[in-house]
Symmetry: none
Subunit: 209 residues, 4 copies
DNA sequence: CATGAATGAGGTTTCATTCAT
DNA sequence: GATGAATGAAACCTCATTCAT
């Protein structure tokens, strides 16, 4: 009665705060974001932030966690794992590009921010592994006889790097989604060929249909 | 007595300062580095830093410039521009990744810092565009009958994105240079085959421009 | 225990801070006053000053505002607007100089500081113009048949200049209020006779505007 | 030979430095002027400033002294002390206005600056007395039977204050020199009537012709 | 539960001033 | 005699963080 402050359930508050934090962090970067700014954006008081998250560092860590999970879940759930490999790849690429395009203030952005402070090396490393795992599984599942020489992880790094760059172009309107998808699918597809030889190889021969 | 207060010519001091700045910036990151720390490392007083470089931002910029120049020079001098296209590509990629592997405490680290700080976003973006343009021209000129449907620039965006990601991995010691090189070479090379018919590449014609 | 860290309502703290700031500013001058000194005098921490007033300049501005308002209010309330013109003039001049005499550590000192600091030159100039305008209208309306040859504004400039100089002298204790008042009254009164024919003045008509 | 630096006689160097100092001090104010700026304007090195003047404070003091002397000498030498009182007054006013108009970076400006630091109270007081002496002599010399009740000093303060204000207007082109002179002459002339009475008094009756 | 009020600590920057050549 | 090189000291300002209500 006195304050006019709504009493919200803990879970809701938490999301509200994280929403604000992710928004501001991703726009201004970790160091250039103040707790004041986050509290203001979340329309709550600073002590609440500290009550729920303990410190700026932990808050940023929580953002990182949530966005990574969202990213993984959303992309995962939009991939058609039952489809044929090439189709599966197509759904994966589209899921990825669409997510990045639709959620600019999200995992990839925070991930980049996180690299600016040694405090998040751990979290970043963890996140990295989860992504690798997905893409790796994807690649592996598309390959009939997985060549142990193929480093799925590193390939995943490259492809995700490419994907991020492309997605950035897509989201600024400088690239067409259809075209971008084709390009990435080709990159992935051929990437699977791995290997030293420079000759063309029929990918279908390597990858199960 | 303890060796401290020599009166050095300007040029020498400049290098001394940059050495210190690069060292500390790359260990602690831009924001977590104080001018005090740099001054201490360089064994000079803070006002000297400001006298020579004007501000923290400009000092960081000077570090970026110097390291970029070193990087470009070193990589350039290790590329065999006389070799056949594919070999040329191989030497280029190796030069690139080897430099990053051998100089972990400099270019890539600063670049990453610059990427995640609002103040240098502009500079980084510009630099990236320039590289993308170069790679784009390389792809186009390397394709015998350029299919107008192929968007070489977007391909360049993807390849540069992949390259950055890989390089980042190498610089943290999480990836092996040899393996990473082969992966990148393949990616580039096959990128050229996005067009149905692609053959020789005359890279020197592009790179020298 | 020693009385320090009470939790005061905003309005109270504001006055406490302004009191301290006025005190220190008027003793040491604008530039030679540090925010630390003001904070110490107000027995609060520096961040409070910045929280409430934003910057040293704004804090000084707030001091200026408060003291000006006090000054104007006090002087205004001691003028007998119902008296005959000459008597009105006398009460006005006396109110003016008496205030300055009685409050040496406030208005005039801050005003002098403001005058000699680049940052407030603009504000001071504007304020002076407004006063000149008022005095100018006073002179004009006080002259029965205004001779178009008389430049009332310039006369006002001279009188205000004289008034400032006298007030400055009074505030340093180098001049006697009584004597100074008579001198100013005569100067003003005779200023009106710059025109060959001048008589009654209806000051209230001007001042209220 | 080695340095290309001219070896100037001491007196010349001193003036060169003071010229620069007066220029910068009067434009920027005492506190907002750096020794660097003065050295640059004087085209000499900072240690020279310290060699010749010891400290910023002393340098400013020297400026004050020189400008006061110049002002006094110049104005004095342009007054026709042999003329009849009213004509003498006219020459005095013109000398004053012309000087202020022609030398904006001069005594009055520095004088105002000086009031912003307690360090110059002494110098300011001295200067004040010299001015008073001139104006006082002027007034006294124009008065047949100097009334001991007339405070020539305070009158001088008022008139100089008025003069400064007017001169400022003149120098910005907002006032005409002729008109301004007339106005000031009237102010001076009537000022001599001093005294409590509000009635008109024929000034010529009080002042010798 | 929620917050307005408060601060310790530290960061960037500037300046008057002095060596050592 | 003259100066480029160098610095101690201090100023303004911000921020993550915590009480006391």
């Amino acid at each position: 009665m006195a304050g006019g402050t709504k009493r919200l359930p803990r879970a809701v508050r938490e999301q509200q705060m994280l929403d604000a934090a992710v928004e501001i962090f991703s726009v201004n970067g970790y160091h250039e974001t103040s707790m004041d700014a986050i509290a203001a954006e979340a329309q709550i008081s600073k002590p609440m932030l500290y009550l729920y998250y303990g410190s700026k560092e932990e808050l940023f860590g929580a953002c990182l966690d949530r966005e990574l999970t969202r990213f993984v879940d959303e992309v995962n759930s939009n991939i058609d794992f039952t489809a044929a490999p090439k189709e599966l790849l197509r759904t994966a690429v589209l899921a990825f590009l669409n997510y990045i395009d639709a959620n600019r203030a999200s995992w990839m952005v925070l991930y980049t921010q996180a690299t600016s402070s040694q405090a998040f090396a751990h979290t970043v490393r963890e996140g990295r592994e989860r992504i690798i795992e997905i893409v790796g599984r994807l690649l592996r599942s598309g390959t009939k006889n997985p060549d142990p020489d193929i480093d799925f992880e590193l390939m995943a790094v490259a492809l995700v790097g490419a994907g991020e760059a492309i997605a950035s172009r897509v989201s600024t309107g400088d690239a067409d989604v259809q075209e971008a998808s084709e390009l990435m699918i080709n990159l992935f597809w051929r990437g699977l060929k791995g290997a030293p030889s420079s000759q063309d190889v029929d990918a279908t021969a390597v990858i199960s249909s």
